[in-house]
Structure formats: C-alpha cells, structure tokens
Amino acid sequence: MADIHLDPDVLSALRDVMEDEFSTLIDTFLADSEQRLRQLTVAGDATQLLEAAHSFKGSSSNMGAIRLAALCHDLEQRSKERNLSGIELLIADITREFALIRPLYEDERTRAGSAIATVRPY
C-alpha cells in the first residue's frame, strides 16, 4: 500500500487548471466524499457497496488522494468477489483515511485564497 496520502504534483496541476475555482473544487470534493462515506456505511448489499466504492475511487484518484483511492479499489474488488466478511474494518480504514486527508485539503484551500464555500449545483 502506498504511503502517499496527497500527491503534491496532482494538487499543483489542479491548482493550475482550476485557477479561481480551486476552492470550489475542494469544497465540492469534500462534500461529495462525506456523502460517499455515508453511502458506504449504510450500504445494504454488495452491489451498492461496489458502486459507491467505484465512484469514490474515481474522484479520490482525480484529487490526488492516492491511498484513499487504493483502499476504495480493495473495497470494490472484495464487493465484486462477494467477500464481505470483515468488510466493516475496510470501511473503517477508509473513514480514517478520509479524516486524515481532510484537513490537508482544507489547508490547500486556505492557501489558495479565501473563497466562499458554496457548492454550486449543476
């Protein structure tokens, strides 16, 4: 398992691309991620777990959260294999990892400049 929690290269690329909207991106990701976590914990069956894990994996990899993406990948695989015994432990790992990187993202956000934390609907 990779030790990188937040890939700085990815972050600087994101800053580059998003420019003024960098903060918005972070906010959106953080809000999305909370929702995903909730989905994971209340997921009823393997299929729901699979879809939620897959989705979370995608966005975390885009945002440079390497370890988080790897954990989600494991969860996705095990859901596919229907190997659900002890799955709560993996979900707990994912929750912890997110709790770890969250302040790091907030730091990035602050450094990028103050922006009102609004999530614009699409």
């Binding site: 991106l25 959106t28 999305d32 989705s55 885009n62 945002m63 699409y122």
Partner: protein
C-alpha cells in the same frame, strides 16, 4: 475538396459524470482547452442535453445513476444518425470486458481516471478529425447523389427527344422488321427509315463510337439530315455526302459513325447499298436461297473530309420477297465465358440452319443466348423485304403553307452540262419548284418518279450511252453501274435540258415536262411496240412514264421526251 483545418476549432462538448467534483474538474480542463461545455449528472440528463443542444463530442462516465453511460451512449448514437458524434468513455474500469463493452455500445474511445489533460486533449483532437472526415464524406455523398439524379434526368430528357427523332420515320412499314434492344440506343445504335417522294425507301443502320449521351447526341443531326434529304428526293450519294460533312464538322476527332445506308426501289426492284465500317449485311434471295454479303467498302461517316469522301454505291437486283438483313456489331462481338467471339462463321451457321425466313431473328437471338449464357442487351437487327408496292402506303407529305397564293402561269428551262451532270442531282430542286403549285401536291409521288425516270434515261442511256439490257442478272447489274460511274467520271461533253411549263386550265391547270439529251437516241417505234410489262418496269422506263403521266411521247429520234400532268380545282 474541403481542407481539414490544422488548428482545432472550439467544439461544444457534453460532459456526463455523476461525481460533482469530477464533473467540475473535467469541465475546467475542457474549457481551458478552448471548448464550450455542457454538463449532465446522469444518463437521462445526458440524452436530453444532447437532444436539445446537439454537441459535437461527448465525454461519458460509464457508471451513472438513473441511466448508465452505456444506455445513454446507445441512445445518443441513435439520435445522431448518420452524423458522427464521438463518445469518449470516462472510466476507472480496468477489466478488458468492461472496456470492450464501451466500444460495443458505440463508444469511440475511453479515458482512464485520473484524468490526464494531455491525453484528453490528444483524444479530443483525434476524435474531432474523425468527426470532420465523416462530415466531409456525407457532404460529398449528398453532392454526388444530387449530380447523379441530375444526370439521370438529363438522359431521360435526351432519350425522349431522341425517340421522337428516331421514330418519325417509317420503321413500322409492313416490309420492315427490326429488333433494337433497350440499351442499343444508348450504345450509339441508330435505325432510321423513310420514304422518298417516289415511293422508294431509304434505311440507315448506324453505330456511333462511344456509349451513352455522347453517342446519342451525334445521332440527332444525322437523323435530321437523313429525314430532310430523303423527303426532298435526294439520292443516297448526296445524302451520304451531307451526313459525312456534318459529322466531320461537329463531332470530336475521335468520334465517328459506322453506317450502312440502303435505297430500296420497289418499282425498279433493286437495292442500292453503301456500307462504311459496319459488319457485312446480307441480301437473301428467296428463290436461290443464296445470301450475298454486303461488305463494308468505305470508312465510317465523319472520318474523311468532303473532298476525300467516297460516295460510290453498289446496286443489286431484288425479286419480290427477297430480303436485306443488317446487323450491328453487338451480334458478332458477343463473347462467351472464355472470351471467344461469336463471330461471322457462327452467324453463317445460323443462316444455314434457318428453315423459316420469318424466324431468323429468333434463331439468331437463341444462338446468342446459347453461346453467351445470357441475353445481350445492345443488339440491333433489321430486315427489309421487297414487297409489292401496292401493299405499301407512304404517308402523304405535310406542307406548312396555307395555299392562298401559288404560281399558276410560268415556264422555266435548264441546261445541265457535263461538269454539272457529274456532281449535281437537280431532281430535288425541280420537285420543290413544282410543289409550289398546290394542285400538283397530291401527285408528288408520280411527279417525282416520272421526273427521275426521264432524267436518268436522258443521262444514262442518252448522254452516257449505257445499254439497259445489261441489267438482266446480278453480274450484269454490277457491270452496268461500274460502267455508269466510269463514264460519268470521264464525261467531257453532253447536256440534259429540262423544260417545265405550268398553265391554268379551267379551274385547275396543266404541267408540261420536256426532257432532251445530247445522246444518240433510240428506236422509239420498237420500244413502244413492246408489251407493257406490269411486273418489271426496267429498260427505258417508258412504260412507267406512260402509266403515271398523260400523253407521253418521244420525238427527235428518242432524244426528246414530253409528258403532261393535269389537276382539277382544289376542294
């Protein structure tokens, strides 16, 4: 040709992605690359956005709620129809099965997460190139289809005009049988037939080089010359000269028309033939069963200049019931599976095996089918029989003037001397002159026959001194006409004089024709004493003149002939 632009034009790109952060990120990336962005959070929204905005390219997440990317892609492709709307799937699906599925549903490419801007830009560019290629192809296809329709329509119109021209003759006369396959016309085959004022029949079977419209277009001026001159009473030689000159003038250098031209005379029971480049025709004698080939002795029409053109014809005697058979090269050139030609020998075999002359066409068609394995679609054949002239009714000529004023009291004299006799046929001109007199129009056939007979007697028997008793058999016929041409070429002195006098008589009028020649004359008493031969009207044609005109008589030892025509008041 539409040039593909080097720089990428801004596109409208639809991004369908359910994760809000990913959607935001991707939109920014794509916008930064200079494009306009539409977004959708699920498959159903994506389809709706596509229906309303018609973006040029779609970035589609595979897993989405409501409707997934696969189904949305299917629907969008269906909506796009012929137009290419590239769909790039966004996926972190790693299994090759899932990736293959993207392509199955109509996806054109996929992009893995995390998004790599450089790769995304490259893929968008590549997809756009394909999109524009497809657009060009469709535009050109539509243009081609339009042109094709236009050309087809032009051909239809050309064919309609041509059919009018080709069928204004007398191909439906009872003594003509013909077969012209549907593509023969557009392969340049031409079949024309028309009556002369004297009741003779001219027939032309022609074959233009080339196919389609260019070949058919040359046929129209040729047909006009043929009909015009035949109706005025011109002979084969003049008609041929005029047709050749016309085609030489108007056709491009590599185009010409092979042709066989016939003049069938029911009264003189002979056929005059000119064949330039066509396959041999055949003169079939019913009595002996023999078939005389009518060979091509000349180059096709439109090749030689007027100065070098050879208008010499051959003349053959015919008996009642004899037939002339002409065919285009579609018959001889038919190939079998081994590229062997049908050829002249096989045709001769069909002739030999033919038991019923009336079934000749069917025999030949069957032989062709057996040889080739299928029917040939560009064959032309025509058969002209010599029938009793009473069975034929040439149509009455139509005049375009009103008949109010016509010359009724006049006379004119001509003297045609050696140099003119060699190359000028005055008969059409004289006939046109006489047809100005409306009362004579109903007798134009008889008038022409009599004038032609008087003139040809004066020229051939009078000035050239030819002996008509030569024309008793086939060999004699050939010799007679050879002598005629030779003596005419060598002619230095001599004349034929024609006097025409029109005077009113009562309600109608009278025409007196006198023809004199510079020849030795003939024994008038002896010829008059011969019984009138109803079947064969040869010799001095004296019987013909006596039958068709009134008060015919010969003076000055036969060098001067006189005949009268009368007409009553017009109804």
């Amino acid at each position: 040709m539409i040039a593909v632009q080097a720089a990428l034009e801004p596109l409208t790109i639809l991004i369908a992605e359910d994760s809000a952060a990913d959607r935001l990120l991707l939109s920014s990336i794509v916008r930064r690359q200079g494009h306009q962005v539409l977004t959708a959070a699920n498959g159903a929204e994506a389809v709706e956005a596509f229906r309303q905005e018609r973006p040029q390219l779609v970035l589609m997440d595979a897993m989405m709620p409501v409707m997934d990317g696969f189904e949305a892609a299917r629907q969008i492709k269906a909506l796009a129809g012929e137009t290419l709307v590239p769909i790039i799937f966004l996926t972190s699906l790693s299994e090759s099965e899932a990736l293959a599925r993207c392509l199955e549903v109509g996806g054109d490419d996929f992009l893995a997460k995390p998004y790599n801007q450089v790769i995304l830009a490259a893929k968008i560019k590549a997809m756009d190139r394909l999109r524009r290629l497809q657009e060009t192809v469709l535009q050109q296809r539509d243009q081609i289809a339009r042109h094709h329709d236009y050309l087809l329509n032009e051909q239809r119109v050309a064919k309609a005009v041509f059919d009018k021209v080709a069928h204004s003759g007398c191909l439906n006369a009872p003594n003509i049988r013909y077969l012209q396959s549907p593509y023969a016309l557009f392969n340049g085959d031409l079949l024309l037939a028309a009556f002369t004022p004297a009741g003779d029949m001219h027939v032309l079977l022609g074959d233009f080089t080339g196919h389609g419209l260019p070949a058919a277009v040359g046929a129209m001026p040729l047909a006009e010359v043929f009909y015009g001159m035949t109706a005025k009473g011109y002979g084969l030689a003049e008609t041929l000269r005029e047709m050749n000159a016309k085609l030489k003038r108007i056709l491009p250098v590599d185009m010409f028309c092979c042709a066989t031209l016939l003049s069938l005379s029911f009264q003189r029971q002979s056929v005059e033939v000119w064949n330039g480049g066509m396959p041999d025709g055949y003169l079939h004698s019913i009595a002996s069963g023999e078939r005389t080939p009518l060979k091509a002795r000349h180059l096709p029409l439109g090749v030689l200049t007027p100065q070098t053109f050879d208008d010499r014809t051959e003349v053959f005697p015919m008996a009642l019931g004899d037939r002339v058979f002409l065919l285009s090269d579609g018959v001889i050139d038919t190939c079998d599976v081994n590229d062997q030609l049908f050829g002249v020998e096989r045709l001769q075999q069909v002739f030999a095996a033919n038991r019923q002359p009336d079934a000749l066409f069917e025999d030949i068609e069957q032989a062709l089918r057996d040889f080739r394995g299928e029917a040939r679609d560009d064959v032309s054949m025509v058969e002209i029989s010599l029938l009793d002239p009473n069975l034929l009714s040439p149509p009455a000529p139509i005049y375009s003037d009103s008949g109010q004023s016509c010359p009724l009291d006049w006379s004119v004299s001509f003297e045609f001397r050696a140099a003119t006799l060699k190359r000028f046929n005055p008969l059409p001109y004289l006939l046109q002159l006489l047809l100005e007199v409306h009362g004579l129009r109903t007798q134009s056939g008889a008038l022409y026959s009599v004038l032609a007979e008087l003139y040809s007697n004066a020229l051939e028997h009078g000035v050239l001194g030819l002996n008509s008793s030569l024309k008793r058999d086939v060999a004699g016929f050939a010799r007679y006409y050879q002598q005629r041409n030779a003596r005419l070429e060598a002619l230095e002195d001599g004349y034929v004089r024609v006097h025409l006098q029109v005077t009113p008589e009562g309600e109608g009028g009278c025409l007196v024709i006198r023809v004199e020649d510079s020849g030795k004359g003939f024994d008038v008493e002896r010829v008059m004493a011969r019984p009138v031969d109803p079947v064969r009207l040869s010799g001095r044609g004296v019987s013909l003149i006596r039958q068709l005109g009134r008060n015919a008589h010969w003076t000055d030892d036969g060098r001067s002939a006189r005949v009268e025509f009368f007409w009553e008041a017009l109804a």
